[in-house]
Symmetry: C2
Subunit: 452 residues, 2 copies
């Protein structure tokens, strides 16, 4: 059976429908059979697509809990782990890849981590500890210890016989790793070369030596960049002395790319990229309240600006009607610039060498579009209110606010970045405050000057 | 040499600095040597990180133009292709993967595509035409025709000897594809199994048959889902009759994942995910003008609502000062809900089976946070203006607007999606219009009722 377009989306929803029906009528057996016929990642997707009450039931019906657990996002993982004791965690995670076990353990309090490690076999414990000793968001935290290594002096024939002694080769193995006697990285032996070369030559003769191994301290998004630029499937990880520690595979890199790309989107709304779509009210409410509180303060700042012009508004009440337009257009224009710059920073494109060009481009876009919008708005106001003065004032205020929006949209994220503040998280709030304050101030200020 | 943390970002900027200096002093030779020592993807990244004037110079200094061209984003590709004639395009794209050639050709007008195809060798032309016959955003448009196929009855020993006749195996080959006499897909022979099994057994005995091939019409984001859920490195693509057409590799899937994830971010600001960070003023200005124009209309709608309450504002001018706060808080709350729902839709998590739960959760979050914000704002207004009436009015209006924002943030993207309108592109505009209109209407309406 082939998978045809849009099948997957429909499939998820029809599976969810089936599960809901079954859970309501209490026929768990059928759901259990259906669930356990799916890939762990598919089960994880169904669990993440379910509200908390169904989640708990689904979880009890899953057989291979460890595999499913490691496919879940951090936040959902934590929800299930909270109800397990150390022995259960140790049991469930047995047989998982080292990096996945480490990811899961990092959701737990330190005391529980120690208990889980104590419940593991000595060999597994050592491996997991070596990954845990690195930050979760570095190459060391992403790596797996399941490497197959060979020595340079072996002939390919020996390597082939050595491989045949394995029952299986770890997933996503496209290279064997060549190491010296001190276990230091020397080069890579691609399986494709192993398969196309004469069996009598040695590893040294055909190994690839022009690929640098990854330092265990490299940040995960830089690892993703290296994989993307070089089209790697796997890559070796080494410590400061060049000693092989493990390898990173493309499936873990894909997760980093997905999270990195989601980060800007979610942060601009004050949310975390790991945010659970179906987080319960008790979790989601306080998080959102913080964001609303911050924005309440900035809105009050903008209102205070209006407050200083009360007398002018009393004289010409039409100003109150029109002032949100000026603020809103500045916000929209600034937000476009901000989004382009935030993505450019995330992609590593923007820095001191091109910021000048970018700033001047945004300036000229604003000049042209500012004039255009000012003209449109001016004509509309002149016809609507039959008042040329207000038409000129709103036109001028709009041009001023669009220019400020262009500068703010470019400079705010770059300044935040240089202060090591996440531009995606703080950028939107700061920008809107600037465009609101400048919008109200320019429009009402010009009006006050004119009408006083 | 190992690559350590933050090296890559700094490296890009220092390379750009070097290039700028060299271009200013006219020492192209050095830049050419530096450029051509880099990977094609690194050169593409430098070009995309440069403003248009430096881009043109860099492009002239690049030796392997085809490789670099296919790493560039669609929009930047198009900028260079516009200056080439059909013969040049055919020359530059020679030797590239079929899917990459097809991607590049799709940037060109139909007339030029025909000319380029005519300039190709018959074999290349047939291959590219087979990919071009599928939409760019389907499995058929992503696939490559460089498959290695074997028959089920062969012994592994024969397969190994057959492989040794190849100079090299295509990149990211983790499986050989098993086909029957009619070239129909039968199964996969993982290289890992080929390497660990005795040479005397046949392909049929160890081939994997429980993986479904991908239908050529499957949408590219569904292909990405399949790769992510199954941790594939490559997968076979077949036509309606099960005939093998080619295969998709993980490096092309990573591009789709990156673009898909960028899509929501950029669309919410009215931008395209392929938007060139350094697009010239002449390209960027008209695009942004359209978005500003749409938002100008919605801002005027909101202003018109205020306009109907002019008399009330004339009586109590403090209303004009406070009204943007109510509208703005509705916008912020609605935007959080909208972002969570848009991402949930993009990930395929949200549908008819869980929308009810989601709606009720958002409702309760809004009730709680609405009361909280209303209380904070009410107390502040009571103290600031010493006016309990306005304090009560603004509190009530804020609760109303936060509730409407929760409903709108959930229902707008789902409704747009069911109408086949991109929720990420249209959602933000519609939402802000709703929260502005409701915010002004609730606050000024309640005030009018109270003060008249």
């Amino acid at each position: 059976m082939q998978t045809s377009a849009d099948d997957l989306q429909i499939q998820t929803q029809s599976q969810l429908g089936e599960i809901n029906d079954a859970l309501e009528s209490g026929t768990f057996k059928q759901v259990r059979r259906m669930l356990n016929g799916l890939q762990p990642a598919e089960i994880a997707h169904l669990i993440e697509s379910s509200p908390p009450p169904s989640r708990r039931v689904l979880w009890r019906l899953v057989d291979n809990e460890g595999e499913v657990l490691q496919e879940l996002s951090d936040e959902v993982q934590a929800q299930f782990l909270r109800r397990m004791d150390a022995a259960e965690v140790a049991e469930v995670t047995e047989g998982l890849d080292t990096d996945d076990v480490a990811d899961i353990l990092q959701q737990l309090p330190d005391r529980v981590i120690r208990e889980v490690l104590a419940a593991m076999s000595a060999r597994d414990r050592l491996r997991v500890e070596s990954v845990l000793s690195y930050d979760e968001e570095t190459a060391g935290g992403m790596m797996n210890t399941d490497t197959i290594t060979v020595r340079p002096r072996l002939t390919l024939d020996v390597v082939l016989r050595y491989l045949r002694r394995h029952d299986e080769i770890p997933a996503s193995t496209d290279n064997l790793i060549v190491v010296n006697r001190k276990d230091q990285f020397v080069g890579l032996l691609p399986l494709s070369k192993l398969l196309t070369s004469p069996p009598t030559i040695t590893v040294r003769e055909i190994m690839v030596t022009d690929i640098d191994p990854i330092d265990a301290d490299l940040a995960d998004n830089e690892v993703a960049n290296l994989f993307e630029r070089n089209d790697w499937v796997s890559a070796p990880v080494v410590d400061k002395d060049g000693k092989l520690l493990g390898r990173i595979t493309i499936d873990d890199v894909v997760d980093v790319i997905r999270e990195d790309a989601d980060h800007s989107l979610m942060s601009l709304a004050g949310l975390d990229e790991e945010e659970d779509t179906f987080a319960p009210v008790s979790l989601a409410t306080p998080r959102r309240a913080i964001w609303l509180g911050i924005n309440l303060i900035t809105a009050i700042v903008a209102a205070a600006v209006i407050g200083t012009f009360q007398e002018t508004i009393e004289k010409v009440v039409a100003l109150a009607v029109l002032m949100p337009i000026v603020a809103s257009m500045g916000g929209v224009a600034g937000n476009q610039t901000l989004t382009v710059v935030i993505r450019g920073i995330a992609l590593g494109q923007i820095g001191r060498n091109n910021i000048g060009w970018l700033l001047s481009r945004e300036f000229w876009i604003s000049v042209i579009n500012g004039l255009l919008m000012a003209l449109a708005m001016g004509i509309m106001v002149a016809l609507w209110l039959n008042d040329m003065n207000i038409a000129l004032i709103i036109g001028a205020a709009m041009i001023i606010n669009l220019l400020v929006a262009a500068l703010a949209g470019t400079l705010i994220p770059i300044t935040l970045k240089s202060l090591s503040i996440d531009p995606a998280l703080a950028g939107g709030v700061v920008l809107t405050t600037v465009t609101d304050v400048v919008g109200f101030f320019a429009f009402l200020g010009l009006a006050t000057y004119f009408y006083s």
